[in-house]
């Protein structure tokens, strides 16, 4: 008889572990209540959590809502604030006024008409972003993406969160153990016990004895204790494409508790990398991600301090090594890796948590009924994840290849040898036709849809040939969407409160569930 898959064992109590536990437990709640399914999370009482990622994707709203988490609680317990995308400053020329948005809203009428060629023909001199979505204007003014009367998880303008990753994992943990029936075991894994077929049979722990399971999820971070170490799956570096290998982070206090709080991530290019600047209600998280081959730590720290200004005085940066890349396989035998254990990429587009969500969801939705069908699901999972990681690497690289900055780091980035073939082909193609719906970004859960490529390409001044008159067929439709966008922008600017103001109100009054 084939062995049914009933007991899921997750190792690692960071963001990846608890989110995965929550997603799986919420999806299989009925079976857990009947007692025919269990989710156990083993967390070492001795290993500190890395707490990666203060930036998230809008997907997190759905993920948390499905788990039954209250959004009001998220704001109150995780120091959360709204994020409406990112602004990339000085990435193209390095000039003071050089910048563009990658917002979270799709261009108006995205499924109906591609506005890119119409914008290219348009001679009003507006940025692509401002022509097709109100979100850049909302970010310019530090406005929230909703109001206090908008229900939990619903948006007026699409949004994600900035949050304190150190508070997020314990917050999700509490929900998982109190509401979703996840078993929490505090213990150090000593040995991974293998079966003859190469599966993991059980784990021997120091404090809790032997724990057996049918499916093991490796959320042990960079160590990748199960998939990497026990099952010997190798790591595939991507430092030939993405050069940054170090981050230096600081937590910067606001000048006053009432200082404006940006409702987007500010990503600013420097001589050998870029800084993130994330506004939480209590502090800013700022960090320099750089290539140690192009700049020394001391120089990097000097640039970081220069960027932050007087507020950096007296602060000590925390240095974090970055190893960009991913496991050669993500699911092998009865072991699947999620989070840092599966790989890591520089946080340029906040891909860490969204990758956890997508992986956890796929595992939860495709939970194999028994060991006999697990390999089929595993193959599918690996296929999807190879695709995802590849596309994210391409998309991150896109931010670098279009630069005109003169520094060596940036020039090295434009070297064709460092550009993946697929991206190279697309860039060639897009010289003659702008990306849109019918491009090959056709997966149901595409991390970066064609719209994201549009925002980056045309934000950075990419040239696509459009002959006058070629688009007359859709001209009136395009004009009406552009006008609609201008009207919507005017309306939202008067209706939406400031980001900080709304977050304060949520702390005080809460958001309604409907």
């Amino acid at each position: 008889m084939v062995k049914p898959i009933q007991n899921i064992v997750i190792v690692g109590g960071g963001t990846a572990g608890w989110l995965t536990a929550g997603v799986i437990a919420a999806r299989h709640r009925g079976r857990i209540e009947k007692g025919t399914f269990s989710v156990t999370l083993i967390e070492s009482p001795n290993v500190p959590i890395i707490g990666v990622g203060e930036g998230t994707w809008p997907t997190l709203r759905t993920t948390l809502e499905k788990m039954g988490v209250s959004e009001t609680d998220l704001f109150r317990h995780c120091d959360a604030a709204f994020k409406q995308g990112a602004r990339f400053a000085r990435w193209t020329t390095g000039a003071e006024n050089d910048g563009y948005y990658h917002p979270l809203m799709l261009p108006q009428g995205f499924t109906q008409v591609n506005l890119v060629p119409h914008w290219l023909e348009d001679e009003q001199g507006r940025s692509f972003c401002d022509t097709v979505t109100p979100q850049g204007a909302l970010c310019d003014e530090g406005l929230a993406p909703k109001t206090i009367t908008t229900p939990e998880y619903q948006a007026v303008a699409n949004y994600a969160y900035h949050l304190d990753a150190g508070k997020f994992a314990p917050f999700i943990q509490k929900h998982c153990t109190m509401k979703l029936g996840v078993r929490h075991v505090l213990a150090d894994v000593q040995t991974v016990n293998m079966a003859e077929n190469g599966d993991i049979k059980s784990l021997t722990t120091e404090q809790a004895g032997e724990i057996s399971g049918d499916l093991f999820v490796d959320c042990t971070g960079f160590r990748s204790m199960l998939l990497g170490k026990a099952l010997g799956v190798g790591f595939k570096d991507c430092n030939d494409v993405l050069f940054c290998d170090t981050a230096m982070a600081m937590q910067v206090p606001y000048e006053t508790p009432e200082s404006p709080m940006a409702s987007h991530t500010i990503s600013t290019a420097h001589s050998a990398g870029w800084t993130w600047d994330i506004g939480l209600p209590t502090r800013r998280g700022v960090g320099y991600v750089y290539s140690s081959n192009h700049i020394s730590d001391d120089q990097a720290e000097a640039e970081l301090r220069l960027y932050i200004g007087p507020q950096a005085k007296g602060l000590t940066p925390r240095k974090i090594p970055i190893r960009g890349g991913h496991r050669e396989t993500f699911w092998k035998n009865n072991c699947v890796a999620v989070g840092l254990a599966s790989g890591f990429l520089e946080p340029l587009e906040s891909s860490a948590i969204v990758l956890v969500e997508l992986a956890a969801k796929l595992i939860a939705e495709q939970m194999p009924a028994n060991r006999g069908v697990m390999d089929i699901v595993a193959a599918r999972f690996n296929d999807v994840n190879h695709y995802r990681w590849g596309r994210i690497i391409d998309f991150l690289k896109l931010h670098y290849v279009l630069t005109k900055r003169p520094e060596k780091f940036w020039q090295d980035n434009t070297d064709p040898a460092s550009v993946p073939d697929r991206l190279k082909n697309l860039l060639h193609l897009w010289k003659y036709q702008p990306p849109w719906f019918f491009d090959e970004f056709d997966r149901i859960e595409e991390v970066f849809p064609a719209a994201s490529y549009q925002y980056v390409l045309y934000g950075m001044g990419f040239k696509t040939d459009v002959a006058p008159g070629d688009n007359n067929g859709t001209h009136s439709m395009a004009v009406s969407y552009m006008n609609e966008n201008a009207a919507m922008t005017r309306k939202l600017r008067t209706q939406l409160p400031k980001n900080r103001e709304l977050v304060k109100k949520i702390h005080e009054y809460g958001l309604q569930p409907i």
Partner: protein, 236 residues
Amino acid sequence: MTNVALLNNHDHRALRVQAGASARYGDNQRFVAVILGEFPHLVAHYPILLTKDQNTGAFFAGAMLGFDEGENLFLDERGMETYRPLNLQRGPFFTAGTEVAIDLDSPRVAAGGKPLFTEQGEPTQYLQSIMALFRDLKPGLEMTKTFVESLVGLKLVEPIDIDLAFDDGSKRKLTGLYTVNQQVLSALPDATVVDLFRKGYLQLIYLMMASLKQVPVLARRKNDALLKPSAQLAGA
């Protein structure tokens, strides 16, 4: 602007207050917050709905008196013949702790109105009626808040969109209004239903649902007002 003072028979001995319903004095409201004790009076005339406080996002119960901003379809030159919600009746008065306060800048504070104190400094019958009103209104607001929170907690609240087309060709789309979801109510577990019944909530819920029948009645009133030439909106 408001200029609120605690009411006393020294400073305010000679004050007079216009008590009647009139647009000039602020009865021209399309949606007025109400308390549970008023539901039986309200259901005979108005839809009882929930909406959100624009400042806090919190739900509160109210009576719908009109469709457009500043429109009370029950108000005419003679005042309001139907039940007048307490929040309109209270006029320029508020409570501050256990005391009564008054907005001295309210247009209601005017010559020709009703006196508040006798020459001896005793509260007049009118002021006594206001004090009695607050004895209902103040705890009533708390009880109503608890009731509304229970509805939200039980997921009984659902948005209701009201689309209206009038004979003059104009249309109204009202959003931001909420009522009780009948299906969720029917599916509640027995213990919860008994609990709602014992608290007196079940009856209130049914009054809210029944009051929805007042929406078309209200719309007819509006339609008549729109078609009536010159005699434009009531009380204006």
